[in-house]
């Protein structure tokens, strides 16, 4: 019997290991997704770019969006005859691998791309935790690493020279949401002081969000954080946590979650009969997949701050050009911020290569550090400021889901395409 107990205990350990390993399983094809675009067989006249994305696992859906952005940018470069390098057009080749949404795989595949596949440059993966792990490999190997998927300031506070990020910090995201809430409070639409239930995923991303909200609340004195809880990334059951939020009876519900957690948590939130005057999941809220999974009614009035919105196309020629290109390639479907950031990441790298006039890694790195190009991002310009560790600080756009299914930009005022509603009329009673 003692032996069987031991065997059972070993099984637990084995199953735990399996759980950990699960996400790192490569696709049946061997884990290598087909290269996004292969213009020609790799040769001296080809710029080889390596990238990984979470094409399977928890972030598979978002990884697929980034892939669309990457593919569009490579296709556009190909149609233009390649990328201009010192007056000569060079073909581009993307080697895109599936990092299965796990840190270890993201890091090891980056190493493989650099040292086995001998790529010239790296594009980053998606999600802060993966970029955090992968960027270390890029820095160690001194290869330019441009990413549009890592937003946490922790990535850029390490003094790395080879890492460039297009996503503005999550702290700014939280601040953008709080600023809009503050205008509503000043207009007398929200109680003063307002109590906040603050939930954040236990990652650098979540910690930045928490910092942004708490710093704003501390400065303003008109907000009190009544619940301050973190949760496990890719969780399944948030009912106990939501029970705690419900018991606290706060005015505002501010959470920072990735898409799968947002969908899971919101489903349980609705089922628990919860309603807050303001509800936000940080950058998540306006995604079509969420409305499909939860029904549009259950995502009404959710506030989100994102790095880009296709509504910017009415005001920005760069954004309009991208939206038109995307719709032409993907059957009229409108892009979300994920595809836009993927596309812009590639464009930033190609712009730096052209400016450097060579494939020399250090020359391209220097051009990236000094880059200043018209951009589809809010603010219309892309830079990687050295004072912020080469992380873009482009402003955010704040959106709110409305009952008619639209999610107009409600802030900043110069980009606004609609009026926001506060408090949530659905929970007035």
């Amino acid at each position: 019997m003692r032996n069987s107990r031991t065997a059972l205990f070993l099984c637990v350990v084995l199953a735990a290991a399996c759980k950990k390993q699960t996400a790192s399983q490569e696709q049946p094809s061997g884990g290598t997704a087909p290269a996004g675009q292969t213009v020609a067989a790799p040769g001296a006249d080809t710029i080889r770019v390596g990238a990984t994305l979470p094409l399977t696992g928890a972030e598979a859906r978002t990884g697929g969006f980034y892939k669309e952005g990457y593919e569009l940018a490579f296709e556009e470069a190909t149609k233009n005859g390649g990328v201009d390098v010192g007056g000569k057009k060079m073909a581009v080749q993307l080697t895109l691998l599936d990092d299965t949404s796990t840190q270890a795989t993201a890091a090891s595949l980056a190493d493989r791309l650099i040292n086995s596949d001998k790529v010239n440059f790296l594009l980053g993966t998606y999600a802060t935790n993966l970029v955090e792990a992968q960027s270390v490999v890029a820095e160690q190997n001194q290869i330019p690493y441009v990413n549009g998927g890592g937003a946490a300031t922790a990535i850029y506070k390490r003094g790395y020279k080879w890492v460039f990020g297009l996503l503005a910090p999550v702290e700014l995201l939280a601040e953008s949401i709080m600023k809009w809430i503050d205008t509503q409070q000043k207009a007398g639409k929200l109680p003063k002081p307002a109590t906040i239930a603050l939930l954040w995923e236990n990652t650098s991303h979540g910690k930045d969000f928490r910092k942004g909200v708490t710093e704003f609340a501390d400065k303003s004195k008109n907000y009190k954080v009544a619940v301050d809880e973190s949760f496990e990334l890719n969780g399944k059951d948030f009912s106990a946590l939501l029970g705690k939020v419900k018991a606290a009876n706060t005015d505002l519900f501010l959470a920072d979650a990735h898409l799968p957690d947002y969908i899971t948590m919101q489903r349980q939130y609705v089922t628990a009969g919860m309603c807050h005057k303001i509800q936000s999941y940080g950058a998540r809220g306006s995604e079509k997949q969420a409305a499909e999974s939860l029904t549009p009614k259950n995502v009404q009035y959710i506030l989100s701050a994102v790095w880009w919105s296709n509504q910017l196309s009415s005001k920005s020629p760069e954004a309009k050009r991208f939206v038109d290109l995307f719709k032409a390639k993907y059957g009229g479907r409108a892009p979300e911020w994920y595809q836009a950031l993927g596309y812009e990441t590639v464009r930033a790298l190609f712009a730096a290569i052209t400016q450097a006039g060579s494939l020399d890694r250090d020359a391209v790195r220097q051009k990236l550090a000094a880059l200043k190009i018209p951009s589809l991002l809010p603010g219309g310009e892309l830079t990687f400021p050295a004072e912020f560790g080469q992380q873009s600080h482009a402003p955010f756009v704040v959106q709110q889901n409305l009952p008619d299914g639209t999610s107009p930009i409600v802030a900043p005022p110069d980009a606004a395409t609609g009026m926001g509603i506060a408090p949530n009329p659905g929970c007035a009673k």
């Binding site: 032996n3 107990r5 059972l8 637990v12 699960t22 973190s230 106990a240 489903r267 089922t271 939860l294």
Partner: protein, 291 residues
């Protein structure tokens, strides 16, 4: 309705799912002395089966419970006859069965990746987000339904094991397979039926879990771990012990939110597992014969 009562209700509802998840594992181990590592794979398969029937044919997940259970039962028997049956019995076959069933799990998971990709799926019905008032607390209709099915499954299983000839035969084989052959019980047949039953229970648990949580091909790994905790806590082979252990695990997880950060609550069950293994290696309710 105070917070305490709400947490109690949440614990009880969650316990139903945990008990269903665990009993298949405990049943197979209790009778065949095999740790079915493919339990996680069948949980995942049950989830996808329910989702597929719903999304392709519009069949309500609760209506698809019976066909899914029946097919899984047959699949379990086929798996026993085709694979497990060939392994040596006793300690010699222990490690081999672990590896074999772990391999089957990996194959199933990769087939799911191939068929359904790695995207998260949700089983959304018209009542997915509907709530009802229960003892003054607002609870998810889906969770109540899952609990009701789980309870019914456990009652049926209990009756099967204690009141029927088949159940008695299963319990007898669990006690002493050699003596069973002497009195005419076809032990191999009982083994196959038990393996089928355990497999069907795993699929039912997976389908029920899919109505509550999103899932992808890696679904089942966390559930297998929780099943281990319940089986070890409850003592192998006891229906009542399994149910009480499931309730303890659910209560510990739910109430932990009052004392520790939310992201640590998932670890509480495993701390409990270690404590029980150290302090009461036979489980909280000791070793009992099935039923």
């Amino acid at each position: 309705m105070d917070r305490f009562a709400e947490l109690v209700i949440a614990s009880v509802l969650l316990a139903g799912l945990y008990a269903t998840m665990a009993y298949g594992l405990g049943l197979i181990y209790g009778v065949l002395r095999i740790v079915n590592l493919n339990h996680g794979g069948m949980i995942m398969a049950g989830a996808y089966a329910g989702w597929y029937l719903h999304s392709e044919y519009g069949i309500d997940p609760y209506l698809s419970l019976l066909p899914v259970a029946a097919v899984s039962f047959l699949l379990g028997i086929a798996m026993y006859r085709g694979l497990v049956h060939r392994l040596p019995r006793g300690a010699a076959g222990g490690v081999q069965s672990l590896l074999l069933l772990f391999g089957v799990w990996l194959v199933m998971r990769n087939v799911a990746y191939l068929l359904f990709t790695g995207n998260d799926q949700t089983l959304r019905t018209s009542y997915s987000t509907r709530a009802a008032v229960l003892a003054g607390a607002l609870v998810s209709v889906n969770r109540v339904a899952v609990f009701a099915v789980a309870l019914a499954t456990l009652i049926i299983l209990h009756i099967l094991l204690t009141r029927t000839y088949l159940g008695k035969a299963i319990r007898a084989v669990a006690q002493n397979p050699d003596s069973c052959t002497l009195v005419g019980i076809r032990v191999e047949r009982i083994y196959a039926l038990t393996f089928g039953l355990g497999t069907a229970l795993a699929a039912i648990a997976g389908l029920l879990g899919a109505t509550l949580f999103p899932f992808n091909p890696s679904f089942g790994a966390g559930e297998l771990l929780k099943s281990f905790v319940v089986v070890v806590l409850g003592g192998l082979g006891s229906v009542a012990g399994t149910a009480i252990a499931a309730l303890i695990l659910a209560a510990v997880e739910v109430f932990a939110i009052l004392f520790i950060p939310a992201y640590l609550t998932a670890a509480v069950g495993f701390v409990l597992l270690v404590l029980v293994l150290v302090l009461r290696p036979g489980g909280l309710f000791g070793q009992r014969v099935l039923g």
